[in-house]
């Protein structure tokens, strides 16, 4: 359903030209959960923004259901890492989840049903009329997930969504993603730098090289479903996959000289 072909993104031009994304090819099929992992600063977020239609790729293209993505597509939802900054502090959880539905042509009753179902799916029904800042970090990220679900996307893009919550909450949120994925039948492209997380969640993992990034290897994950934070992570196969991905990424560690270039890149383009 989602096809990324020869995608490249270059910032700036001339001497100040920096290539964040080199040549990425990836196909995601209906209902799949694909994790994208790569060394830090490799251009994961840039890649995701191109896929989400928020950035225009320099080369190549992204198609969704065979249609070329030129702006944010209607059947796609994005969950950012910075949950606290992506929620509106001046209004309730309910209105935050309602935001993407307001301009959809839907009867009022359907709208509030979608909102309530989504809030229920993430277990926050009791807090629906609270302000987001009255909730903990993990709960705020649930609100962001509920908002994406209420929008009823066919594909969900998640950009390191759990990078800033504690380990316990993170495990809960991972399981939440797996459960709503079944409930809503949504395809997910999940960007993370956490190798364990990628192995635990994914049907397939795309390992990226450092900038300008390409897909280094695609790994099929054959772990039994439903997954379990304890049992799944005890499996020998889990350990094998984890080690395999780890080695791939470790080999990508940039030489000391490159590190400065990476930092400069990150400073020049905070959005990547």
């Amino acid at each position: 359903m989602l096809e990324i072909t020869h995608l490249g993104k270059t910032y700036g031009s001339g001497d100040r030209e920096t290539r964040a994304v080199g040549d990425v090819n990836l196909t995601v099929t209906e209902g799949e959960l694909v994790c994208v992992v790569g060394p830090s600063g490799c251009g994961k977020t840039t890649l995701l923004k191109c896929v989400g239609g928020l950035l225009r790729p320099t080369t190549g293209e992204v198609t969704l259901h065979g249609r070329r993505v030129s702006g944010p597509p209607e059947e796609m939802a994005l969950v950012f890492q910075d949950y606290s900054r992506s929620l509106m502090p001046w209004t309730s959880v309910r209105n935050n989840v309602l935001l993407p539905l307001r301009h959809k042509k839907l009867p009022r009753a359907d709208r509030s049903r979608l909102v309530e179902e989504a809030v229920d799916a993430v277990g926050l029904t009791r807090f629906i009329d609270h302000y987001p800042w009255q909730l903990s970090g993990g709960m705020q990220q649930r609100v962001a997930i509920a908002r994406a679900l209420a929008y009823q996307p066919s594909i969900l893009l998640m950009d390191e969504p759990f990078a800033s919550v504690d380990a316990q909450t993170r495990g809960d949120l991972e399981d939440l993603v797996l459960s709503v994925r079944g409930q809503y039948g949504v395809t997910i492209l999940f960007v993370t730098h956490d190798i364990d997380e990628s192995v635990y969640l994914a049907d397939r993992i795309a390992v990226l090289t450092h900038a300008p990034t390409e897909v280094k290897e695609l790994i099929a994950v054959d772990l039994p479903s439903p997954r379990d934070q304890i049992a799944t992570k005890e499996l020998a196969e889990f350990a094998r996959l984890r080690a395999h991905v780890y080695r791939l990424i470790k080999r990508e560690r940039p030489a000391p000289g490159d590190l400065e270039a990476e930092e400069a890149l990150a400073a020049a383009h905070p959005e990547s």
Partner: protein, 261 residues
């Protein structure tokens, strides 16, 4: 000091210090017998005679109307201009020199020409005069507030395909609102000043008019009564504004308190 004692001390200071000053004023004026400084009690008697409420309709109501209309227009125009300028760096670059030029203009310099331009010496000129100068705090704060909006918020809305007018209504304006309100508060204080100033010139009613006429006819007690009234007006308007702000921006205080650092 405990929190409670601290609060009590603050309230006492707020009441006791002005009360002390007034008492000192009364005692000094009573013994000094200075024509320029009538006794406080004389001023207050005059205040009651003029403003409660025999001349209230004649002079206070028109002044309040001018403040209200001028301030209202300034808020609407300031926000309407501030939104596009806050959103577009190009528009900002083109407009900022003009804004800075007119903002730096001392208001009295424009008083004579305002009559010619607006073609009126009546309410229209006074309201236009007040509105013109009150636009700037609202305008500049709207621009600043919008520039300071977290891009994540706007990008989220954009990724959900929220149309631009909805983005302005649901994201941009509410996010910039705390700062817009701060600008409005400055404008309101400015509106009182501009009201007095505009009524100095070709006027037949208003508190500023009474002040000027009393001074010109050496009626110092009514003049002082007008000064006291202007002070009270400014104080009460600010107080009302704060009460409304407290309700409307309740979320903002809660949110700020919840921020990690």
């Amino acid at each position: 000091m405990s929190a409670r004692a601290w609060r009590v001390a603050k309230v006492v200071a707020e009441i006791a210090v002005p009360a002390g000053i007034l008492i000192a004023w009364q005692l000094w004026t009573a013994s000094a017998h200075q024509a320029r400084f009538p006794r406080l009690s004389t001023i207050l008697v005059q205040f009651r005679k003029m403003w409660l409420f025999s001349q209230f309709n004649e002079h206070v109501v028109p002044s309040l109307e001018r403040i209200g209309a001028g301030f209202g227009i300034a808020v609407v125009v300031g926000i309407a201009l501030g939104v596009p300028l806050g959103l577009s760096p190009r528009a900002r670059r083109a407009a900022m020199p003009h804004i800075e030029y007119w903002r730096a203009m001392p208001p009295p310099a424009l008083l004579p020409i305002s009559i010619i331009l607006v073609h009126s010496i009546a309410n229209r000129q006074k309201i236009a005069f007040i509105a013109f100068f009150c636009i700037f705090p609202v305008l500049l704060n709207t621009i600043d507030g919008i520039r300071g909006i977290d891009p994540t918020l706007v990008e989220t809305a954009r990724s959900y395909g929220v149309p631009w007018h909805e983005r302005i209504r649901r994201i941009v304006l509410p996010a910039a609102f705390p700062q817009i309100v701060a600008g409005m508060r400055n404008s309101l204080a400015l509106a009182v000043i501009m009201m007095v100033l505009s009524e100095y010139f070709s006027s037949t009613s208003g508190v500023g008019y009474v002040l000027l006429i009393s001074k010109n006819t050496f009626q110092l007690v009514p003049m002082w009564a007008a000064i006291v009234l202007i002070g009270v007006l400014g104080y009460v308007l600010n107080l009302l504004f704060l009460l409304v702000e407290r309700r409307v921006l309740a979320w903002h205080r809660g949110w700020r308190a919840a921020l990690p650092d």
